[in-house]
């Protein structure tokens, strides 16, 4: 199997889709530069730079999708989604339902997310839980190149809107422009297996809403998405040394959520720790506990999340974002070891 970078895998799949289906287009701020290869290949009719007008171009992408094309609309950073929330909350998410499922919105909103490079809480949020709260949106958060490609392919061909998250510590070009800026004097905690990894010889769409077991274990389930999966793997290794067998699950999607597989894991381990770079309150971690309870399970529960606005200072930021130390400590705490 060939190796590929996280961002390269996404670009590879989009190129394939654009080649096969002329209805696939890209629009967004700076896309002629951010997607230079695709711009060179498919031209400005299909890779369309926009002004800084998120509310207008995302709103337009919704109806463009309704009228028969498959736009990939880029919101540079998910923090900026606030500017265009109406198009997403009241339109993209609701049109299929309101039309009696007779009119779909095959739209992908691609957006960069996440912290760990000192840019503070207006540029480093995750917000997937906030968006997953809204019925009608698929929420995809890949953690490695193979999933990034396979999930982008299914996102492009999904009938309903998908918000597709690309973590800045995994997508090399984002970290280069926003974190290092060409400097060699700064460093970041980038998980190698997320940055680069094996991808299939031939891209196939991965189903939305299927979690992936990364590591089998019996004592506790560590479940996460995106960068949190890598932090969980690191923590699982430390727990292993302490004689605790942790299972690591990568949800890959928040909507749909693979509750069946999650249930199977927690039935086995009777303990679950949710690792979420998004906010703690009213989010993914609370939702998972509620769903498991609704399914009649009893289990030990804990969560390691971002609990407050992400501070600018790298030192403070490191304390706020989930990391392996916090995961290990919380796991030991809930297992009372």
């Amino acid at each position: 199997m060939p190796k590929m970078g996280f961002a390269q895998a996404i670009e590879n799949v989009i190129a394939k889709a654009m080649e096969e289906d002329e209805n696939v287009i890209i629009m967004g701020e700076d896309v002629h530069g951010l997607r230079l290869n695709l711009f060179a290949r498919f031209g400005k009719e299909r890779v369309i730079p926009t002004p800084i007008s998120e509310s207008a171009f995302v709103g337009a992408a919704v109806t463009a999708a309704m009228a028969g094309i498959r736009p990939i609309a880029e919101i540079m950073l998910v923090d900026f989604i606030g500017v265009t929330m109406d198009a997403i909350l009241n339109h993209a998410a609701k049109i299929s339902f309101f039309s009696g499922n007779k009119w779909n919105v095959p739209l992908v909103i691609r957006t960069a997310c996440g912290g760990g490079y000192g840019d503070a809480g207006q540029h480093e949020q995750s917000l997937w839980g906030w968006l997953a709260h809204i019925p009608g949106l698929n929420i995809v958060v890949p953690s490695n190149p193979a999933d990034a490609g396979g999930l982008m392919l299914s996102s492009i061909y999904a009938d309903d809107p998908v918000i597709y998250f690309e973590h800045k510590l995994l997508a090399d070009y984002w970290l280069d422009s926003m974190g290092s800026g060409g400097r060699t004097t700064v460093s970041f905690d980038v998980p190698e297996n997320g940055l680069e990894g094996e991808v299939p010889d031939k891209w196939e769409p991965l189903p939305l809403g299927k979690l992936k077991q990364i590591k089998e274990g019996n004592d506790i389930t560590l479940v996460s998405v995106g960068i949190g999966v890598h932090r969980s793997i690191e923590a699982a290794k430390i727990l292993e040394e302490k004689g605790i067998s942790a299972e690591v699950l990568d949800l890959r999607c928040l909507n749909p959520l693979d509750i069946e597989e999650l249930k199977n894991s927690v039935e086995k381990t009777s303990a679950i720790l949710v690792i979420d770079e998004d906010y703690k309150s009213y989010g993914l971690s609370g939702e998972i506990s509620a769903m498991l309870l609704e399914n009649g399970l009893t289990f030990k529960f804990g969560r390691v999340c971002t609990e407050n606005t992400i501070p600018y200072s790298r030192e403070l930021e490191n304390q706020v974002l989930p990391n392996k130390e916090r995961i290990v400590n919380k796991a030991l705490e809930i297992l009372k070891m």
Partner: protein, 334 residues
Amino acid sequence: MAEFEIWQLYRKMLYSRLFENAVKDLWDKGMISGEMHLGTGEEAIIAGVVSQLEQGDAIAVDHRGTSSFIIRGIEPTLLLLEFLGHSKGLCAGKGGHMHLFSKEHLIASSGIVGASGPAATGFALALNYKKERNIAVAFFGEGAINQGMMLESLNLASIWKLPVLFVCKDNNWAVSTITNEVTGGNLIDRAKGFGIEGYEVDGTDVEAVWKVTNEAISKIRNNDGPQFIHARCVHTEGHFLGDPLLRYNRNPNLLAEVANSLKKYAGKSLDEILLLLRKIGGQTKKKVDPIVIIEKKLKNDPDRLKQIEEEVTKEIDQVVNKTLEIFDGGMNNA
């Protein structure tokens, strides 16, 4: 009413420039994290406007606000400590350069493009409501003029006849997009469309900026409602430090590499790409530097120029040293 004092303006501009050069230095060393949007190239606009504000006037700035904070008189050591993420920084190390706030000076920033429009409008609403004679200034780039919230603010300020000075700092680049190519009509006409008088000015000439601002502010203080200034300038450091476009441009090998990597596609738009890359090249070659321009105007008194430069250099050195001393003393983030 403010008096035009070119030497004072020069000192302010130079102070801002040398302060931001020091910021660049610390950023290069890896002591400042994340992005860094410098206001180098904007000094004539910021100094020409901010120097005419009175106590109690409010300022809303964008992600490029350091220069406004410096020229408004916020303690520079506090700013530098903030950029180092120190607990004794202006915002306790929690905000960083895009999220600077000084309640005492009524100046607030935002990293969201366009947000300074509604921010200044709201400041003006409160000042007006309290029957103060004060005004609010919105600083924003021309990229922000295509944000709905900015256009809505122009309308609000107009219908409510609020004391807002909208200052558009136009370098013709919306991050990495040439603004002309994504902006319909012209900005003065836009302002007029909302019933707001607009002034076109060379934003690299502090004297010109000062004069139109003086006229605009006196109208605002006379209850004539909001005014709009469109000032052109150049960002010599691109959108932010380490701007990938400038890195390509400054390194011919890298630029050739990019162009070559695109050749394999030989798409119909290759010419467009090369044109774009050339345009990017043009961005930095055209170095219109407001500091150089004002120094030319003042060249008849070289001794005074030299003296100011020496004084300001020394002051900035002291700020940096004091900051690093506190920084080396450790954080107090517990």
